[in-house]
């Protein structure tokens, strides 16, 4: 595997839902400014792992986490962690685009307000333009910023959600099945967007779709029954996996 700088590093990470051990001894380094895909069958713990990276699991009752998650060498499981700052730094995009029932403009301004980031209309407008340009929506939407975001196509909504994350200047973007609600062409377009975004952000994508993981990622982790079975360069994982279990899964022998 090529040398890389780790943006996220987990050390002996265990996660329990009550008595059930959903994650077991996960030791993984997520390389900075790359796309890392986490694949595995349903219930293998991939979304649970993803949600650990911005502590979204804290909202789940009866959860217990052990081990360390270092982001920029800081353990985010430390009780003193500022969760608002963490979630600003580690943005998240979900399966279905979750735009607010507001205008495009208001959707984008929302986070800026919450985080009290910018003052003045011009500065806000500049940030919004920049965010929409990043996701390739500016030309399409610049004259319709007052339009309700729910009137957009699902692909546009998902792009808008990504723009809403980007506008807060995160360093990491977590994507949980971001294309599962989209048609194949929109999916390919979002994938192209991810390739552009990785120049500036560290991206972690969880996907059921192995072909998508292969197309879009630089590194791939394969999970099974709460364990990280294999992690490596995507080329290697998909052409010559080290573990028999990985091979059986990606070749479609189980899952």
């Amino acid at each position: 595997m090529a040398e890389f700088t780790s943006k996220i590093e987990t050390q002996g990470l265990d996660l329990f839902y009550g008595e059930f051990k959903a994650l077991e001894n996960i030791n993984m380094c997520v390389p900075e400014k790359n796309v890392t895909a986490i694949i595995g069958p349903s219930g293998c713990g991939k979304s649970t792992l993803l949600r650990c990276f911005n502590r979204m699991n804290d909202l789940v009752e009866g959860i217990r986490i052990e081990g360390k998650i270092l982001i920029d060498k800081q353990n985010i499981l430390d009780p003193a962690t500022d969760l608002i700052a963490l979630r600003k730094k580690v943005g998240m995009v979900f399966q279905r685009p979750n735009v607010f029932d507001l205008s495009i403009y208001q959707n984008l301004r929302f986070g800026l307000r919450i985080h009290r980031m910018l003052n003045g209309k011009d500065a806000i407008m500049e940030a919004i333009q920049n965010g929409l340009e990043h996701v390739g929506l500016w030309d399409e939407l610049k004259d319709n910023l007052r339009k309700n975001a729910r009137t957009l196509s699902l692909e546009q909504q998902q792009r808008l959600c990504i723009a809403r994350v980007i506008i807060l200047k995160p360093q990491i973007i977590l994507l949980d099945e971001p294309c599962s609600a989209l048609d194949p062409i929109s999916t390919l377009r979002i994938e192209e967007l991810l390739r552009v975004l990785k120049q500036d952000y560290t991206l972690v994508i969880v996907t059921h779709n192995m072909q998508q993981a292969a197309r879009v990622s630089d590194y791939t982790g394969f999970m099974y029954l709460g364990k990280l079975i294999e992690f490596g360069d995507t080329n290697q994982v998909f052409t010559n996996p080290k573990e028999k279990l990985t091979e059986s899964y990606i070749a479609g022998h189980f899952g």
Binding site: I185, L188, R189, E192, R195, Q211, A214, R215, T234, N235, F238, T239
Partner: protein
């Protein structure tokens, strides 16, 4: 273009294959020059440099394997990758033929040749010309041009016939020349085979642009 990054991969593959063909053309020309000049030292360099062509072939194959595994190419994209896999094998073998000529140069050493070389350099010129044109046809996906290039193989075959009979006559007239004339037949035969390999490439170009696998040229040899 939706899959812009995939298109870039395909473009890079094309650049690589053209680059490899240039390496092969240089090796062929160089080997025939060393034969003409009986330059053993230069011939040894060609033999050593063949490993670079072999290495390039593995690199291109690896790219193709990764693209198939990761990008799920279909239709023309898939045919292009399959065509490249086949072309790179032909190019690698052409590199071996050039290396073979260089080995003949080393074998013959400084002993004077049985006859001045005229047809053999001409064969090299025709074969490398065909290869160069085949790469242009590949880039343009031009099946018609590919077919026309195949017709030129007959000219190379004719020259080979001439060299063969000339050297055979030479050996019949003076059996002492056998050890020096036979390697020249081998060298000519290598060039004849190179041109045949170009026709393989042309068949792949036709496959790439039409989707039909068809033998265009049946060699006499």
């Amino acid at each position: 273009m939706i899959r812009e990054s995939f298109a870039k991969h395909i473009k890079a593959l094309e650049t690589e294959i053209v680059g490899m063909s240039e390496m092969v053309i240089a090796a062929i020309n160089h080997s025939v020059d060393t034969l003409k000049n009986q330059d053993v030292a230069e011939a040894e360099k060609i033999i050593a440099a063949d490993s670079l062509i072999n290495k390039k072939r593995w690199e291109i194959e690896e790219r193709c394997i990764n693209l198939i595994a990761l990008q799920q190419p279909v239709a023309t994209d898939l045919r292009e990758i399959i065509a490249v896999l086949s072309i790179t094998t032909d190019l690698e073998r052409m590199g071996d033929y050039a290396e073979g000529i260089a080995k003949i140069v080393v074998m013959l050493g400084k002993e004077p040749l049985v006859k001045p070389l005229v047809d053999i350099p001409e064969m090299a010129k025709l074969a490398t010309g065909m290869l160069k044109k085949s790469m242009e046809a590949f880039i343009k996906r031009d099946a018609e041009a590919a077919k026309t290039i195949c017709n030129e193989d007959d000219n190379v075959d004719r020259l080979y016939d001439r060299v063969y009979h000339e050297l055979l006559t030479c050996m019949i007239e003076n059996p002492k020349t056998i050890s020096k004339a036979t390697p020249l037949i081998w060298a000519a035969h290598n060039l004849e085979r190179i041109a045949d390999r170009v026709t393989n490439i042309c068949e792949r170009i036709a496959y790439l642009s039409t989707g039909t696998m068809q033998e265009i040229n049946v060699s006499k040899y």
